[in-house]
Symmetry: C2
Subunit: 255 residues, 2 copies
Amino acid sequence: MQHSLLTREIEVFVELGADEREALEALREEQIELPAESALVVEDAPAHHGFLIEDGWAIRHKSFDDGRRQVVDFALPGDLVGLPAGILQRPDHSVSALTPVRAARFEPEALAETVARRARLAAAVAWIGARQEARLAERIVSLGRRSAYERLAHLLVELWSRLAVRGLADRDSFAMPATQAVLGDALGLSVVHVNRTLHRLREDGLIRLESRTVTILDFDGLARAACFEPGYLHHTSIPERLRRRLDLERDGGRG
Amino acid sequence: MQHSLLTREIEVFVELGADEREALEALREEQIELPAESALVVEDAPAHHGFLIEDGWAIRHKSFDDGRRQVVDFALPGDLVGLPAGILQRPDHSVSALTPVRAARFEPEALAETVARRARLAAAVAWIGARQEARLAERIVSLGRRSAYERLAHLLVELWSRLAVRGLADRDSFAMPATQAVLGDALGLSVVHVNRTLHRLREDGLIRLESRTVTILDFDGLARAACFEPGYLHHTSIPERLRRRLDLERDGGRG
DNA sequence: CGAAAAGTTGATCTACATCAACGTGCGTGG
DNA sequence: CCACGCACGTTGATGTAGATCAACTTTTCG
C-alpha cells in the first residue's frame, strides 16, 4: 500500500493528476500505531491533528460527566477523523481506537492549505464532508424514529456496505470488533437490550454471529427490517455537473 | 440589508476583501419568497439549488413511507441549506419552510467554483460545514442519551443561542414558530409527550410559553437541566493558526 | 363565525431500562 | 498447566419513560 488510502478514496470519485497525488502524499506527517482504547482526539484538548485511519476501527464519541456516553459515528479504514476538530477551535468530541489502529497523521492546516490551491481536491474534501454529514443525518433518523430492532439492522447493513465498497468485507460477512456495550452507546440502547435484539435478529434468520464475525444471511430481509435506503451513503462519484466545472477550472487555471 | 446575510455570516469569522464580497454577492441567483409548508429541497428530486435563508424558519427532515418523520435540523435566518444536496448526487433529505421564508437561491456548482479560487472563502465554507456537522453530532447525543426533559431544554437553549448571536432573539425570549408536532419530530418524541414535558418545564419555573413565544426564565437552570455545553455551536471565529495560513495564501497567491 | 389546526389532559399500554444472577472465553500470574 | 480474575455475553424479573388512544379545549385563520 504505497499510495495513501486517502488518495485511493478520493480517486474513486475524481481522477487526480500526478501533482495532486503528490501534494496529498506530502501531507502525511507521520505514520502512527495505536493500541486499542487509546485516544486519537481528546475532547477539549486544544492541540490536535487529523488522522486518516488505515487499519482498525475507531469511534467518535461524547461522554457525559455522569458516565453516559454516545457514539456519534464509527471510523473505518479509509475514513478521515479530526478534520472538523482541526477546522473548529476545539474538538467537541473525542475519537478513540476500538481496535489497534494504524493511521496517518497530518496537520489540518496543511491540508487546508494544500486543498485551497487545488479546486479538484477542495471539491473532493467538501464531498467527503458532505457524505459524513449525510451519515450523521441518517443516524439522527435512526435514533429518533427507528425501533431498536430497526436501528440494529440498519447499523449492520451500513457497516457492511461501508466495508464492502472498500474491499474490507466478505461477500456476506465482516469482522465486528465493537462490543455490545459499544453498539448500545451507538444506538442509544442498553447493553441488555442490544443483546436481546441481536438474539431476535438471529432467531429471525437474518444474521449469524460468531466470534466477533457478523454474517448476513438475508440481505433483503435485513435491509427491509431496517428501512434501509442505501442512497445516503453516496458511494457514487461526484455529480457530472460539478466535475465538469472543476475540469474547466483545471484547464483554465494556473497550471 | 444590502449585503447578503451570507457575507455577514462569514465576516463574523474572517474579514473579506472587497473582491471576495463581490464574488459572493454575484452568486445570488434569485431572491425567492415561499409560503409556509412549501419545499425548498425535495428528497430524491434530481435538480436542486442551495439556499441562504434570509427570513423565516425551515426544517431539514426525512420521511418514511409509513408516515414517521424525523427533523434533522432547524434552519434559521443566516443558515445555508441544500449545500450537501448540491455536492452529492441527490439530496437525501427534504427542506421545508416552517413559516413563510425569504431566501437567496444559488447554484451549488457556482458556489463551488467561486470558492475554489479563493482560499479564505473556501475555509469559511468548510468552517460552516464543520459547524453544521458539530450540531448534528450534538443532536445525536440528545436523541441517544438524553431524556425528553433534557432534550427539550437543550433544544430551547440551542435555538435561543443561535438566534441571539444573529441578533434575532430578545434578551430572554424568542419567537418559536414550530408546533409541538414539529418539536416531537425533531426530538424523537410524541406530540403528547412534548406537551407534557413543556408543561413540566413551565412548572419548574424554567420557561414561559405564550402565543408562540418562548421566554427563558432561568438560563442557568435550563442549561443545567439540558447538560448544555455551548462549545459545539462554535460561535467563535476561525482558529488563529488557520487564519494565519490563509492570510499568507492571500498575500502570496495570484492577486 | 365556523372549521380546522394546535394544544391539553387522562387512561392505558409497551418498548426499553434497570437490577440481578449466571455463563463463557481468555489472558495473566502462580 | 491450572486457577483465578475479568471482560463480555446471556437470561429472567421488574420498573418506568414515553407511546398510543381518546376526548376535550383553545387558538388560528379563511
